[in-house]
Symmetry: C2
Subunit: 501 residues, 2 copies
């Protein structure tokens, strides 16, 4: 809703972070004598439908009172009620902020205001399946894929950014090298050497906006080579499969067993490219073992095959030694990709891609035409965090915390869902549970969502048939939430399997 | 060059922003008695080849002296020489920083260390033409396309980022809406309403990483529609043409005259999509006039045509009223795109794309599979800067400064290059000069580069034949540099056209 006040930008800053036109409050609609209650509901609706988004500052009480022509006490009262409800929080002189959306979707009036995607577990997963699940209201989010986001090192980030801005040459604000900022490419090469046993030069690293973009760039250069299919693990990431399919690449499924990808099946498939997650298979958590690694290398050598190694959460391990990257064995046949999404935050949209020499130039061209290169400031901030050891400190802290959260989830599952088998808990940010009983795991996920718990059904990540299961992230939730979530899963399972519990 | 010290991350931060292994200094190679001179040259080479990148902090003198086992005075002396040369600068307690690379490429030893692209004006422009020109050494950069980068509001940016980080909900660090952060989409909608007369809802805005990505996304959805060509202006941006061609789209050229794109020629071409820069045509600076606008709208209505409006520097105008966006006339047939590259900095990689309703969903899907959405923090920082009026203040300041710089360039051209005709100086960040004489403007640009001045030959931006010319950016250079650059251009012209001056 564009604001119409052309002077807005000339008013002094402390007063006008917000106009209030966007709230579209019409005080003539308020019931007589119920102004504060009316205003509370209006603000709650504005929070629910995003006009007052999470993290935003609400207008100063004086400003809102003036614009509505109500007494300041009415506004104070409404804010106080929302603070008590946990939707607003005062932060002293900084103002009052939106800190949580209302839980009940009934209050929000969202549907009439804007199209919010809905999770329909009964349907085949569509393009917006992950957005829809993210947007679904639920008290407890056990979907996989993110680290503890509350641990993001805000102060260290800001300090590093200050150092970067203090020293930055103005020319660095211009168009840059599409491959990424040279200092960051060097820092990433160092990081991969220290943490993943990968020996590459800074020149070999292309900075991308994450594994999603890496998939897109690799797809593009392989399509130009005449490649029409990329074999994928089964089970394997639905998201990866969707990305490849969006490029019109076929994704023949290759079964995964306890030793990882079945290389014999890969060989039989006739595919010349395979995408896989060798360090911690998604979603099973299996490690590609030594024999399979040797088989995979031999396959690539025999067949001229290419390997797309998605090292998505290799930094997180608890009960086992580090697993080296396949790239270290066969750099001339491997596209290697990783990101800071699992060590810091997906919202940073920063990752890296190392292409085999045969495709290096094509990848740089693809990156150039995709977006001319990543934003510079975040790359330089990350350089600082990597070079001063801050990122490694953060990762050690996360590992300890995630391990406790994992233990809490395992304990809750053993207690509440004894019939579930647990897979892949030795590393990563999630685990998978499966059930012997025959039911549709999409029904279970749907029932769980009704109880206020978000999960992903295992079948989303399967092209071949499989036992029912769920993929459960533990890293982002405090242990108490996890325990509560698993207890609610028990109720959901009872609905899906009446008489079994 | 990966560092091998595994303890680097455990050393205390104040001491170890840098190890010095990466400098690979072997003091045994120094001539006897010439330690300081030797170290100066080694550091200069490290700056030139990027081991000590621009903006980086050099190791504290004490640390470097310890590691090299030389006296601290040797290091101090070497740093002092580089400070006097303008390559290092002390910043008090923050340390000593690299602020400029050595000018002479001979000193750097770059060629042996890494592949640096070279500008070959004699060849047809390749994929890396702009990267190569950017990397070419030259004292004065008169290439078009960037605002005054020294004016980037570093303090305001950092303050806004602090406010954002103080208030941010942890969930915002996760995966977000691929269309962009809701508050920023609203801020962009407001910005476009205030500054460009465009009335859209926040829901209509997709945040992208710049006009380059917008071109890529639009290309993708149009290719899916079976579109095989997008007509472009002639002259028109080489970069845009390269982006479209990288998607295998043909780019039939449509002539531009003093009233803008020749819509009659567009109609004759049979193309169903046209990309153009109506507010300030690149590179001629012509405005699409009222009659042509009406013709263009009629063309789109008659033919079901689609318009890709690149509003790349519409915010910069000096001697004329604002020109409304074509989007405002025909929102149902226009893809509208713009960015902060010309108002703040290209290095931010933030822009927006508004698709017509017919292609809105397809654009969102394309953005999702391209990169899952822009990084969140910069979007929220920009929201703050837009909503508190900071960006508009910055733009007013830039306009005044750019106007003075433009006037300085015009003055210098009139004095030094009286035979040049000046075009398109009423707005934007660049102007174009043309010559009646017959010569190859690529020869002129090459001669200018030899004299230390970077420019773009006009013929790069032509598919059809044209008079020779240069495209000259004035916004990024102080008037004294511009004057010196134009004086050097006079020398270059004399080489290309002996006897004419």
């Amino acid at each position: 809703m564009p604001r119409s006040n052309p002077e807005a930008s000339d008013r002094s800053k402390t007063e006008t972070d917000f106009g209030t036109d966007f709230l579209q409050l019409d005080v003539s609609l308020a019931p007589l004598g119920g102004l504060a209650g009316w205003l509370t509901e209006q603000l709650r609706a504005a929070i629910a439908d995003g006009r007052l988004p999470m993290g935003s500052r609400v207008p100063p009480g004086r400003v809102l009172a003036d614009e509505l022509r109500v007494s300041r006490g009415v506004v104070t009262e409404a804010y106080q009620r929302l603070i008590e409800d946990g939707q607003l929080a005062g932060r002293g002189r900084a103002g009052t902020f939106v800190v949580a959306a209302p839980i009940s979707p009934g209050i929000s009036g969202q549907a009439s205001e804007r199209k919010v995607p809905r999770t329909d577990f009964a349907a085949a997963p569509g393009h917006d399946v992950f957005d829809a699940l993210r947007a679904s209201p639920a008290r407890i989010d056990l979907t996989p894929g993110v680290p503890d986001l509350a641990a993001f090192p805000r102060s260290a980030w800001l300090r590093a950014e200050r150092r970067v801005l203090d020293a930055l040459d103005p020319a660095a604000f211009g168009y840059g090298d599409p491959r990424g900022a040279p200092p960051f490419r060097r820092a990433v090469a160092d990081w991969l050497a220290r943490n993943r046993g990968i020996r590459v030069e800074a020149e070999d690293v292309v900075i991308v906006t994450g594994v999603a973009q890496a998939l897109d760039l690799v797809s593009r250069v392989l399509l130009d080579d005449g490649i029409e299919e990329i074999a994928v693990e089964d089970p394997g990431s639905l998201g990866v499969r969707q990305h490849l399919a969006s490029r019109r690449l076929r994704t023949p499924p290759i079964p995964v067993d306890q030793a990882g990808l079945r290389v014999d099946a890969l060989r039989e498939s006739g595919a010349s490219v395979v995408a896989l997650t060798p360090a911690h298979q998604f979603p099973t958590g299996v490690v590609l073992d030594g024999r399979r690694r040797r088989e995979l290398v031999k396959w690539a050598q025999d067949e001229g095959g290419l390997i797309l190694e998605d090292d998505y959460d290799a930094e997180h391990r608890y009960d086992r030694p580090p697993v080296p990257a396949v790239h270290a064995l066969l750099p001339e046949r491997v596209f290697y990709t990783g990101s800071v999404s699992k060590t810091l935050a997906p919202a940073l949209r920063v990752g890296w891609l190392i292409a085999p020499p045969s495709h290096r130039e094509a990848v740089v061209i693809a990156k150039r035409y995709a977006d001319l290169g990543n934003a510079v400031l975040p790359q330089l901030v990350l350089t600082e965090l990597m070079e001063c050891g801050e990122l490694e400190r953060h990762l050690r802290m996360l590992r300890r915390r995630h391990r406790r959260r994992r233990d809490a989830m395992i304990e809750a599952i053993r207690t509440q869902l004894p019939q579930a088998r647990i897979h892949g808990a030795a590393a990563g940010l999630h685990l998978t549970i499966t059930f012997d009983a025959g039911f549709r795991d999409t029904d279970l996920a749907a029932a769980a969502l009704e109880h206020g718990v978000k999960t992903q059904p295992l079948s989303w990540h399967h092209q071949l048939s499989s036992e029912p299961g769920l993929v459960l992230g533990y890293a982002a939730s405090p242990p108490a939430d996890t325990a509560r979530g698993i207890a609610l899963l028990r109720k959901a399972l009872r609905q899906v399997l009446p008489g079994q519990l």
